[in-house]
């Protein structure tokens, strides 16, 4: 009696400790020899990896950075799709948005170059604006302006794909109609100079604003050297 009880106890203990492997192992030997379905042979193909990114690695990461500016403070307002608002203000002020969540940080020259260097290097040079001045009632440059004009013409030749916008102006002496024509003559004089040094005529635009846009406000009929000018914009 006590012998069969101790046998049962040891059998239960063995089953518990072995995690039923003895029992399940015994039962599994009763199954079919090849536990593989026949269908598997006809449906097995290449292993395809998912092309969609895993959920813990966001598909969309964006970085914004204010670039350093001399004498000015850069500001960019950021409105995220989820409704959040950020203001990036000052040199290197930056934010990274990953999975729709924004984290602000302050970058430096090295992180800026690493992240955006190729785009920054492709920025075109700033356009140049230089006024040149003319003698009264003429399309002849003043002696002082002649040197400025020559320097500027060289700058045109040094640019890649240059365009020049030439705008003629006059003072208020004489009629508005006369000054419209005089402004155009001054612009054309600069255009001729540019063509002479080899600038493609198709890249030069001329126009006259006559006496309508003075640098120095005067009444009508006033001679003002500062208003007798051509504004040359090299782009």
């Amino acid at each position: 009696m006590s012998r069969s009880a101790s046998l049962l106890t040891s059998a239960l203990l063995l089953t518990t400790l072995s995690g039923c492997t003895v029992y399940s192992g015994a039962v599994n030997t009763l199954g079919p020899d090849k536990p593989v379905s026949d269908i598997a042979a006809t449906t097995e193909g290449e292993v395809l990896l998912s092309t969609t990114p895993p959920p813990f690695c966001p598909a969309l990461v964006e970085t914004y950075m204010v670039m350093p500016e001399e004498g000015r403070t850069g500001i960019v307002d950021v409105a995220l799709v989820n409704g959040d608002q950020l203001v990036l203000e000052g040199d290197y002020a930056a934010a990274e948005v990953a999975g729709g969540v924004a984290t602000t940080f302050t970058g430096d020259e090295a992180t800026m170059q690493e992240t955006f260097g190729d785009a920054i290097a492709a920025l075109p040079p700033a356009p140049i604006y230089v006024p040149v001045y003319f003698y009264f009632d003429s399309d002849i440059l003043t002696d002082e302006s002649l040197a400025d004009a020559q320097r500027l013409y060289q700058a045109v030749l040094e640019r890649a794909a240059p365009e020049v916008v030439v705008t003629g102006h006059t003072d208020t002496s004489g009629s508005a109609a006369f000054n419209q024509t005089l402004g155009q003559r001054r612009a054309e004089a600069v255009r001729e100079d540019l063509i002479d040094i080899g600038v493609d005529p198709q890249t030069i635009t001329t126009r006259s604003l006559g006496e309508s846009q003075p640098v120095i406000e005067t009444g009508d009929g006033v001679r003002e050297p500062k208003n007798r000018r051509v504004e040359i914009n090299v782009r």
Binding site: P68, E69, A119, P124, A126, A161, R235
Partner: protein
Amino acid sequence: MISPAKKLCLSLVLAATPVLSFAEPVATIKTLSGDVTLIRDGESLSAALGQRVHEADRIITSANGSIGLLFDDDTRVAAGPDSTLSLADFSFDDISHDGNLDVEVDNGTLSMIAGKLVENRPGAVKVRTPAAILAVRGTEFSVKVSNSLDKDVAE
């Protein structure tokens, strides 16, 4: 004299005309390296130095490509390699400096130095990305979009 059918046809043509004249030249390509493609009215063009870029053009740079644009308001925009951007909207009044610029960046890097539009009205230049709208109050900034979903669609 004109039959009603002809009238209808004519009015349809006239109604369609503004759509065709919509795409104005707005910027000039000032720097260029590698392969850069412009998509205009569904056609692919190879970008060239000095070429004018139109409103609604899409710009795609290759892995070795970059491009720099000068807009008519003096705003400068550049894109690095593997970038896709669209010039969604541009208007600029040369005398008053009123107007606006909208650039969409789907992927890649963009650097911008805002010009007269922002000088005249802070916020007049906007950059739209898949995650945000950036309004430029001044003046120089950069954006990078790493959009792996977009890349899968593009390839």
